[in-house]
Symmetry: C2
Subunit: 314 residues, 2 copies
């Protein structure tokens, strides 16, 4: 709206961003779709923006918060699983040998996830996540994981919502690992959080209904899976998509191929001093094909080192 555009001149909606092209791109897009007299005007109901989480809204390496959670849960519950002392990948987790765990590849990670994310009710799991986040600290920064969110992206989320956008998370991470805290940290309610999932099963336990988490993959919300999940959960095509890796490529393709004005943005991790520098060669959060396509498609690329005044909240 006009009032918002004027405000944007007076009060900077995103003070942690330097005055760089990426910031100008964002503000121009938001004005273009939200000003009623704009040729690119989009009704509020259709102003849907989707955000990857790991590496886009919060820090992802090393390690992924959800992997740290799984490792801690193995240690916390080892007494109930004496067999783990001799059984990989648990043996290596208990020995603190993360390299040996990672050498087990995806299969080892999946085993850890199933052993720590299934076998309890949805209510119990949510509480376990909350309890862990209240005490766990990131090994490098010595801060709670929920403080390792990107201040410039928090400002972007608020700015978009102020302009009528719904801001969804569409993450490869676990949907029920995120929902207990995204409302408090990002202002994103559970119904706007989409992620990977394991199956759940409805049961009456002593006459009381529960949802039991089963050790079986339901959906992997990554790469091709992201547009599939967006269509399933939201049922309309977003007009803006924000990611940081090749896992977000199809989500950006799907979003920006729609009719009318669209916006795609990649967060490029270029800041080894304040956070981490990685892209084409990284095993976590690899950004390679999507970076090439950003050039061809005109997606905005954020250079964390030069574009952001500040990375984490003070």
């Amino acid at each position: 709206s006009f009032a918002v555009a004027v405000n944007a001149q007076v009060i900077d909606p995103m003070p942690s961003w330097n005055n760089v092209p990426a910031k100008a791109d964002i503000i121009k897009f938001v004005n273009d779709v939200s000003q009623i007299d704009s040729v690119n005007y989009v009704p509020v109901a259709e102003r849907i923006a989707v955000f990857d989480n790991d590496g886009t809204l919060w820090s992802e390496q090393p390690p992924y918060a959800q992997l740290a959670f799984a490792l801690d849960r193995v240690k916390a519950t080892a007494a109930q699983h004496p067999e783990w002392i001799e059984q990989e990948p648990f043996k290596s987790v208990l020995a603190g040998d993360l390299k040996a765990v990672m050498a087990g590849g995806e299969h080892a990670i999946l085993e850890l996830i199933m052993a720590t994310h299934a076998g309890m009710t949805t209510v119990e799991f949510a509480q376990t996540v909350k309890d862990w986040l209240a005490t766990a600290k990131h090994p490098k920064y010595n801060r709670p994981y929920t403080e390792l969110v990107y201040q410039p992206m928090l400002e972007l989320l608020t700015y978009l919502r102020y302009n009528g956008f719904q801001t969804y998370i569409v993450s490869g991470g676990g949907i029920e690992f995120m929902r207990p805290w995204t409302e408090r940290i990002y202002g994103i309610p559970p119904e706007q959080v989409i992620g990977s999932s394991i199956k759940t099963q409805f049961e009456l336990r002593d006459g009381k209904p529960i949802l039991l988490r089963l050790p079986e993959v339901d959906f992997l919300d990554d790469k091709d899976g992201k547009p599939v999940a967006i269509n399933k959960f939201i049922g309309r095509r977003p007009i803006a998509a924000f990611g940081n890796s090749d896992g977000d490529l199809q989500m950006l393709q799907w979003t920006t191929a729609g009719d009318g004005l669209r916006f795609g943005l990649l967060v490029h991790h270029t800041d080894a001093d304040r956070e981490a520098a990685y892209d084409r060669q990284s095993s976590i959060g690899r950004l390679d094909k999507a970076l090439d396509e950003a050039g061809q498609k005109g997606w905005t690329v954020v250079d964390m080192k030069t574009d952001w005044k500040q990375v984490f909240p003070k």
Copy 2:
């Protein structure tokens, strides 16, 4: 809020309802959770209500609208499928022998659904649904299916939203069969529509991303599946649930077992003159176990014949 409570005295929020206990139950519940000084006050973000669709928000028999759609699509596309002339259940559909089709049971219905709901993009399918609804008429009422919605339930949806509720559909029907029209008819946007689904696959077709609908069941949103889907899509437990059959039993159990004040309601089809009368013996929309449990659990049961002044919009 106080203002709303006063308004409710002055302007009837649900004029198509007679002054019956069911109506009083609804208004008492809404006031109890929305008045800030109420001991049962619920913050707006948690005011989530879930509605079954077929038989709860619109007429379901005979036939289900989605089945009528599938039958019409078989006829419309038969020229491209010469093999159907000799092949059941298509042969019986083309001969207009619905009894023979139904004798094929669930397997026959599934074949019809896959042949008519898969093999095209999501965009193409949504357009096909819209085109069909624009011309199809219900055989009994000779009105478009989207006019066979329940006027008292439309008023209830509006009343709930006016009081800060999000109103979700949680239907056994196809999620992509509903989304093209629920916003226009019910005021429910696509992202608040949950239903049964087939799988989709992301593809680049001539460099343009599409989602192809595959002939494979993804999820059946009925019975046990309803609480599972509510947890997956919404991520919090509703405080009110509205259904009409045993397919809604687990949804009502899950909703009303939560902490604090909860509300469960069943629409009982008792009006053979204005619509249809069916319950314990019906093959479509059987209401048996849930009717028994309504008595035990204190769920509200709407008697369509005595409780509703009017069934369909004028």
